[in-house]
């Protein structure tokens, strides 16, 4: 039974641990995009915010490899390479995503921990 109070802020220090415990409904309640990935990069979670932002349904995205099959524009040294290289990764970087085909400045939070099963990518529109 999901607890209605369970939530996480974009820049919460313990975001990685909290995200691991949140269920789908709690993730959908987040006011930023949450992409949960298996250690191999396969998308496991894709929250409601991210579905709206990207215009893609969860059904289309889950099970695909994120960096090569969903968002190849992140398959670079700024994003994908850091997940590969840094076993303990927690970094916020400015980035640009496309929102309805328009470049939109966003902030990305890259999360990966040695103890955590999943890696997370959080997406928050900049200036929002």
């Amino acid at each position: 039974m999901p607890t209605l109070t369970a939530s996480v802020a974009f820049d919460a220090p313990d975001a990685l641990a909290t995200l691991n415990d949140l269920d789908e409904a709690a993730l959908d309640a987040c006011a930023f995009g949450v992409i949960g990935m298996e250690p191999d990069g396969t998308v496991a979670q894709y929250n409601a915010f991210e579905q709206r932002r990207a215009g893609m349904t969860r059904e289309r995205v889950v099970g695909r490899h994120f960096f090569s099959e969903v968002a190849p524009c992140t398959n670079n040294y700024l994003v994908a390479t850091r997940y590969e290289d840094e076993p303990a990764l927690d970094a916020v970087i400015p980035y640009v995503f496309t929102l309805r085909m328009r470049p939109t400045p966003v902030e990305l939070r890259l999360l990966r921990g040695p103890g955590a099963a999943r890696m997370y990518l959080l997406v928050r529109p900049r200036g929002a």
Partner: protein, 457 residues
Amino acid sequence: VSAAAHAAPPSEVEVVVAALAALEREHEALLDFIYLCPLGILQLDAAGTVEIANPVASQLLLQIAPGADFSNFFAVMDAVDPELRQLADGLTAERGTVCEARRVDAGRRSARAALPLVFTVTLLKLNPDRSMAVLADVSRSDAAERAARATEERFRAVLDGVRDYAIFSLALDGTIESWNRSAERMFEFTAEEALGLDAVALCAPDGTGAARMEAMLAGARTQGWGEDDGWWRRKARTRFWGSAVLSLAEDAEGAPRGFTVVIRDATRRRRREEELEAKAYTDALTGVGNRRYFDEVAPREADRAARLRDSVCLVTLDVDHFKRVNDTHGHAAGDAVLAAVARAVRDAAREVDVVARIGGEEFAVLLPSTDAGGARAAADRIRLAVEQLVVRTGDAALRVTVSAGVAELASAPDDAGVGEGIDRLLARADAALYAAKRRGRNRVVVAEAPRPGGAPA
């Protein structure tokens, strides 16, 4: 036909909802398609404002202007390709191509970037208010190309820059198939002159080129490589001493495709060796080889000939009535005669022939790749040259003659399966020489071929 036929017709709302759902699915598929497109695609207005950009385009522009606003395409591109804006402004026609796959070297944009960023821009003006730009990241292929170019340049520098080596290739028939600067430098033939030439033409013109080349090719065919140390010729007919290795080149299926030849100019090393050896192996009086030289070189040459089934001949020469010269005119006159005869022999012989003084007034000439007929002709040339000599010593002008015996190394092994060897060859040549003496001197006698297993004639 189906259950639908019996159901109530869908309401207007249901039709619209279904149509919207279909549109949504199509829209999502289209987005997915554009997200995954490996090229950056942009739509720009007249001023260059980015109206539409796919993720790859955004990501590329982000690398050029990290964190900065890149709402205007030209403003972003100013940092790496300021000319692009001018090109676009320069196109005054209503529509047309501003540039096609224009290469932009953006350099290494971050310390984390593995490669310098290189991309191409295609900019198409659709009408005065609308342009499309296509960006393609070619960093990876560009880096690969540069690496390949660098390797090639390094290789060419090695080939061209090292004066002491020549590397070229031959077709299976031994004609020159490729020729480069290193070979040009060593042999002085241009590619135009060298291509298609039989490689024998590169050997010193001493008559042994064909046999040397055949031995090398045979070695390469049977064991994969063949080698040769010998004199080669430059275009200007000067010669150099080169160590050559010839290896078999195979195609992808392993079938012989030709030969690769590497020659090292070892003239200087050769000269040093020669200088060192010269004293030990030279007859001080005449300047030709001494007996020790003959004893070392001749058996090697006989072995080589036997191994390659090449012919080799030995000519022995003896100055006629030499004792009389010594007795009448003194030892100094005798020495002058020997020196003059040696010079005549040396001059008449080919470069490759082994000339040595093997006795008091006896000389030997070993002629590789020569049959009995050729050796007889060579011996006769020497005989005639000596006959023409006038040796001035003190107040006397001396004339001498030589007698010569010629023997060709027996190619067939004897009953014991042993090749003839230099000792028996020398014995047969000497026997022929004494036959020439007996028949009146100043003549050449060719030894009969030895009877298999029998004693020399």
